[in-house]
Symmetry: C2
Subunit: 122 residues, 2 copies
Amino acid sequence: MRPLFHPSIEDVSVEAILHALSDPVRVAILVEIVGAACSQNCSNFLQVNDKDIPKSTLSQHFKALREAGLIRGERKGVEMHNTSRCAEIEQRFPGLILAIVNAHNIQSRDRRRSGRKRKPIS
Amino acid sequence: MRPLFHPSIEDVSVEAILHALSDPVRVAILVEIVGAACSQNCSNFLQVNDKDIPKSTLSQHFKALREAGLIRGERKGVEMHNTSRCAEIEQRFPGLILAIVNAHNIQSRDRRRSGRKRKPIS
DNA sequence: TCAATAGTTCATAAATTCAGAACTAATGAA
DNA sequence: TTCATTAGTTCTGAATTTATGAACTATTGA
């Protein structure tokens, strides 16, 4: 299988980062990968924000994150190990990822408070 | 003519902001509006980064920026006065716009240094 | 009333995204 | 080896989004 493409850090563009993170599923994936102690495989995300994501779609989302330079994916046996490249990006664009993740957190908190997206009491 | 739509600040979403600013023309417009002492009309941007932008396209770009909550547009006689809403957004998502504009500046500087996008010596 | 200016809307072609189906690659068991 | 399983990618067509020329609207000034 052909090796996955990863841009070198100097080829990472702000446009690509912003585009990648303008999708709520991709932000959720990145936040999870950043926060996790160990690398994450794709199948951990077949459910995101209470929504089922088909695995072909998920694969495209991971590709988008990889090609934007936000994560690194390494095939380890049968599964993929995904790790964040945020430290490199922090070097190149200081404060960018933090500000975006932070803004997303503020938004989620506000939405919870105002009662949007609340799970129905089953 | 029907009045232009502007979202209230609590309806502004991170996704919409990031999507709006994932386009280089729109970032350039926003940066210009933020940096300008007075409000800017659309026709100031028929050329952006040495590229001609058709006015219908430009109109859509301004609409995208308005509907993302990044700028406010007011019709003043025959032309439109566009002003930034960054102060409001700073209240809601501290540091976000600054980090993005900053990252774009770093990228432009790097590109100039590495010789990309250099105008041919005519 | 007419022409000029500034910008929007419409229509359609081009590009992008989504998701099911088929495929590939690695592993483990028989 | 061969088969089944698991994890993920690629293919393909449908749906959505974007870009832009052409037509349109609104305001101003002559």
